[in-house]
């Protein structure tokens, strides 16, 4: 338990440091800061993986929890999302040398893990009987993977809007030359969403299947259910605008930003609206 807490705190602090290094890089173009960011993030990821392994081990020490992943609690969900986000960024940064976007993406990883460490406790109790289903390993995992990708897309979209404003102003600052080109950001935003959307859709469908197999209802009109369907609809609208109608530019970016606002609303806001998905209640 102590080890778990130390690993979690270590990863959280490293993510915060990586975020600060990324911010420093954005404003000073000091390549050393970019390298430091990558190193800090790498070690942070390592610790975070260790913490996750420790958490799973403790969780599985309850016989009835064996082989179910600890993602049904607020802590588990936030921690997994942070891990997915940081890992996705680590891969994107490594391949597309877009370290500059770290300042916009890493805060989400740090905040997400920070919320998990500070405000939620790892669930170290047997799972509620109705959650003991292999669906638990599928439905939330898929959705949270999609959310992590959407958070990446959000960072890209913010960079896109900043770059657009820079060029429109006719007085571009250094920032303009440091950010990736407009077209590249636009393509990246669309590509991340196009990749994450099927994951989101599959995750929602799996939720329906779980509901069908557990309760015999394919659809329950709860707060979280409705919000997540809206999220999916907004991202579908974005993809249709971008690929179906071939539209680009600010309007499509605003739609993608709205999609992310609904992701946040679904994840955090639905606490109050939906009994079935409540993390605070331990998923009961």
């Amino acid at each position: 338990m102590l080890i778990l807490s130390a690993l979690n705190w270590g990863a959280f602090l490293l993510y915060v440091c990586a975020t600060l290094a990324a911010g420093h890089y954005l404003y000073t173009k000091d390549l050393r800061a970019s390298r430091a960011m990558l190193a800090l993030l790498g070690i942070g990821l390592f610790l975070h993986l260790g913490a996750t392994a420790a958490r799973v081990a403790i969780f599985w020490s309850f016989e009835e929890n064996r082989f179910f992943l600890p993602v049904s609690s607020f802590h588990g969900a936030l921690s997994y999302m942070s891990l997915a986000l940081a890992a996705a960024f680590f891969v994107i940064e490594g391949r597309a040398r877009l370290g500059i976007l770290g300042a916009l993406i890493l805060p989400w990883a740090a905040a997400s893990l920070g919320a998990a460490v500070l405000f939620a406790r790892p669930d170290m109790a047997p799972l509620a009987p109705k959650l003991r289903s292999y669906w638990l390993n599928i439905h939330p995992m898929l959705l949270m993977t999609a959310y992590a990708a959407f958070a990446n897309a959000f960072g890209v979209a913010v960079a896109l809007l900043i770059q657009e404003r820079q060029i429109k102003s006719r007085k571009p600052t250094e920032l303009c030359y440091r950010l990736p080109p407009l077209d590249e950001l636009d393509a990246l935003n669309a590509r991340i969403i196009a990749a994450a959307f099927p994951v989101l859709a599959a995750g929602l469908l799996m939720g329906s299947m779980w509901s069908l197999s557990a309760h015999g209802h394919f659809w329950v009109a709860g707060g979280k259910e409705c919000l997540s369907l809206t999220t999916a609809a907004i991202y579908a609208a974005f993809l249709w605008m971008r690929y179906g109608a071939g539209r680009r530019g600010r309007m499509t970016v605003y739609v993608s930003l709205m999609g992310f606002a609904f992701v946040l609303l679904t994840f955090f806001g639905a606490e109050l609206l939906s009994g079935r998905h409540s993390y605070m209640a331990g998923g009961k």
């Binding site: 770059q163 006719r170 250094e174 030359y177 990736p180 077209d183 539209r247 680009r248």
Partner: protein, 350 residues
């Protein structure tokens, strides 16, 4: 160790002396010097400067007059009166300033670094460099790079075309595969077309009221000419549009751009208006995905960049002075028992 430098630069000498020296190949200068008994020398020759560095044991380096006589003879021009003569640490400081671009017409320009390297390599190939000049020039190249990466003397584009290209790249990324439309076929249009072609623009189209001139310009820069009446349709295809016609009023109107933008599905379009009076209606800049820059916008950016470079000169000088002092300590240590070791980071005893 003794070091002597002779320089003719755009700052201190008149053009005829520099031109006469530039006409003599560096290899010839060095080989004549060697024939007459000079063992260690290197020269940097560019259109703006001629620099000669000679080094050796204190008693082995000839006097400045000896070098000036030979150079005057080679250049067939009395160059002696125009020369700036420096010795030891002053010469080191000067070479480091040169390689850092502080002595250049455009502060911080990077070409001089390559030219310094070329000069050094030529001397090395002729066997005219020994330990002293080898270390001196390698330090000069190192300091030139260090100054550029650690200060802002080389940051920001320094000319209108390079700012325009930089902005186009901030919009589109790589310009390969993008298409450009040139309106007008005058000297400015041609200059713009050549810059774009040099950046690997995929497709270049020229439209001009006089078809023959459009055709001739297109042929010169491997582009394609279209009749003037067709250019509004071409707007839908073009990513970069450069306008420099002599028309008395705007030739690209907001309506044309709105129509083109619709056909482009909001893909960005970059307008560059270098005509006076203007060729492109100012209001197109308000359209989503349309960016209109005029000549004065680029000039303002260049002025800002150059002001930024000028502000960093003091910081650059500080690096140069500390590195020159470091080199000087090393040079002095050569005649002592204990030779110091020059590392890229600091100075330590071996």
């Amino acid at each position: 160790m003794k070091l002597l430098s002779l320089s003719w630069t755009h700052k201190a000498s008149a053009a005829p002396a520099r031109e006469a020296l530039a006409a003599v190949p560096v290899e010839k200068v060095l080989s004549v010097l060697r024939e007459r008994g000079c063992e260690e020398a290197a020269a940097v020759s560019t259109c703006n400067r001629f620099e000669l560095y000679a080094a050796g044991r204190p008693d082995a380096v000839r006097s400045a007059d000896w070098f000036l006589d030979i150079l005057s003879e080679l250049a067939s021009f009395p160059v002696a009166s125009e020369a700036e003569i420096r010795e030891d640490i002053d010469a080191v400081l000067h070479l480091f300033s040169v390689s850092s671009g502080l002595d250049s017409l455009v502060v911080g320009e990077t070409e001089i670094l390559g030219q310094t390297k070329t000069g050094y390599e030529a001397a090395k190939a002729l066997g005219m460099t020994d330990k002293r000049l080898n270390v001196l020039f390698q330090r000069a190249l190192y300091v030139g790079k260090k100054v550029r990466s650690e200060t802002a003397v080389a940051s920001g584009a320094s000319s209108v075309p390079s700012v325009a290209v930089q902005l186009a790249e901030s919009i589109f990324g790589c310009l390969g595969g993008k298409s450009a439309l040139i309106l007008g076929a005058g000297a400015m249009a041609e200059l713009a077309a050549k810059h774009l072609a040099a950046r690997g623009v995929g497709r270049l189209t020229v439209a001009n009221r006089t078809w023959e001139r459009a055709y001739a310009l297109a042929a010169r820069c491997h582009g394609e000419a279209v009749p003037w009446a067709d250019f509004p349709a071409q707007l839908a295809e073009a990513d970069v549009v450069i306008a420099s016609t002599g028309a008395p009023q705007a030739v690209v109107t907001r309506e044309m751009v709105v129509a083109a933008s619709r056909k482009r599905f909001g893909r960005s379009i970059f307008f560059i208006d270098i005509a006076m009076p203007r060729d492109i209606e100012e209001s197109v800049h308000q359209l989503d995905g349309v960016y209109l820059y005029r000549l004065e916008d680029f000039e303002a950016i260049v002025a800002k960049n150059m002001a930024g470079r000028a502000e960093s000169v003091a910081a650059a000088r500080a690096i140069i002075e500390s590195k020159a002092a470091e080199f000087d300590r090393w040079a002095k240590s050569l005649s002592l028992e204990k030779e110091l070791s020059l590392r890229h980071s600091d100075l330590r005893a071996r």
